[in-house]
Amino acid sequence: MLRLRWTILPVAVVLLLLSFPELNDSRSLLILLTKIFIYAVFAMSYDLLLGYTGIVSFGHAMFFGIGAYSVGIGMDVWKNSLGTLLLSVLIGVVAAAVVSYFVGILSLRLKSHFYAMLTLAFSGLFVVAAEKMRSVTNGADGFPFAVPEFFMDRTNFYYISFVFMIVVFLLLRRFTRSPVGKVLQAIRENEQRTQSLGYEVVHYKIIASVVAGVAAALSGSMYAITLRFVNTTVFTMDITIMALLMTIIGGVGTLYGGIIGAALIEYAHELLTSLAKVHPIFERWIIFFGLLYIIVVMIFPMGIVGTIKRWQTHRKAAALGKREGLPW
């Protein structure tokens, strides 16, 4: 019964979201959901590192930014067409793969907190580069660019982002459930033991970092396409913090968690900013995020999805226990 309910729920949500543009004509809600889909991919990519492999990165924004800037620059320099758009997304993916590979090689041999600091430094480098290469990036102000007509339609782009999220989710799920995915979890659990089983831990960390970097670049590209504008904020620490909050609140080590965390954070963000009319304190929505974060960590230390999963296993265990207690 329980299991059935848990498979029906996602299917129902998917159907609801697919028919959403038909049922609702609120433009702002459509944009909000589009953003949630895009951030969900970013959060899932971060969760590959944090939740599956146990790597803490403070520089995940650099991949998001690489994706965003490659689309921005590509569309700015080349003629506006579907082909050039796809090509610039592809360039972003390749660049992110190369950068994540080198960052991985250079730093994944380090102990956790040193790695975190080094990623912070690397992403700082990208902020500086984006600011200084004014001729290409127009500095901190950023620049607008055109995308094909089809992508400018909000409903179309809603569907594109939705399908994008589902596809990335399915691919990442496949990845996390593959033999390599299992080794990543083993590394999170006990790095030394994983080594002594004969796995070369650094190789696996690099794989995780490249896959996460590529997924993050894709979400960055999508983000730039919705805004049709890019500036240096895409490289900042705020973006990384957002991914961190989304994964922790949603639940680390579960891909669903990233999606739920993204939905919650983006919705809360929207809600709090709209409350700014009521009282100016709501403009400082980040304060409320802090509170939300504290509450979540206290009540659901394993995140929302993690806590639900735990309830499930407890209930299952309780049911089993009862059966074993019976005379037969």
């Binding site: 496949r174 593959s178 083993a186 033991r193 994983t194 004969g198």
Partner: protein, 250 residues
């Protein structure tokens, strides 16, 4: 397996000092010695967790002194740890399955579903039967009792099908009732044959019962080597253990 003049120095203190150890193939050799004699350090050197300050290690005739731990594992060396060392939040079966996966060389497959590797599950399950943990295969490893976790470790070790097994106090910290079960498992491994086994253990009756030969370490140095009986009769060994007026192993 052979070590030559193996030495490691921690801040001026030689924890293992010039040890020459030769373990013939398919031999069951125990290493004993008082606390702090350098037994576990010696294991860490052999399995690659530590790099020696001096000396070399040979395995199957090749020099492996500079090889990383995972590469040594792939050459056929498996070790258990003195402190229980499993994947706490993964299931018991998954713990063993990861070892089977490593041994069978499925290393960088990142896109196949695990269901394609059902035989791994089956093999892992039959190993759990060997160590009598099959009934707990779906529980997380952290929920096991201490002795059961040790047995789980042995199952993981067996899954690697190593030619050389390093057991670091497999019965450390487990209750008296659980010791015979572990002993049983080790005896079974020995009876199967085809493996070289190095065992660190404090329980003398176990050492005497299982070993082909016994090496004694004292203060990081090689003290004696011989058949269990010879070692029991050795005066140096007795004084080392009794702590008499013994200053230097050389």
């Amino acid at each position: 397996m052979e070590t030559r003049d193996l030495t490691v120095v921690f801040g001026g203190h030689a924890a293992v000092n010039g040890v020459d150890l030769t373990v013939p193939r398919n031999h069951f050799q125990s290493i004993i010695g008082p606390n702090g004699a350098g037994k576990t350090t010696l294991f860490n050197l052999i399995s690659g967790q530590l790099r020696p300050s001096k000396g070399s290690i040979l395995f199957k005739g090749t020099d492996i002194t500079r090889l990383s731990p995972p590469l040594r594992t792939r050459m056929g060396m498996g070790r258990s740890f003195q402190i229980t060392n499993v994947f706490p939040n993964l299931t018991v079966l998954e713990n063993v399955r990861l070892a089977v996966q490593s041994r069978s060389g499925v290393r960088y497959n990142f896109f196949s579903a695990l269901s394609r590797f059902d035989w791994m599950r089956e093999e892992a399950f039959s190993l759990l039967e060997t160590v009598m943990l099959d009934k707990k295969s779906d529980s997380p490893a952290k929920s096991l009792a201490h002795g059961e976790q040790r047995k789980l470790e042995i199952a993981m070790l067996l899954a690697l099908k190593s030619d050389l097994l390093l057991f670091d106090e497999p019965t450390a910290g487990i209750s008296v009732e659980e010791v015979p079960a572990i002993l049983d498992v080790i005896r079974r491994i020995k009876a199967e044959g085809g493996r070289t086994i190095l065992l660190i253990e404090h329980k003398m009756e176990m050492v005497l019962d299982l070993s082909d030969s016994v090496t004694v370490l004292f203060n990081g140095k090689f003290l004696a080597n011989g058949s269990p009986k010879e070692i029991m009769d050795n005066e140096l060994v007795q004084s080392a253990y009794l702590g008499g007026h013994y200053d230097d192993a050389s």
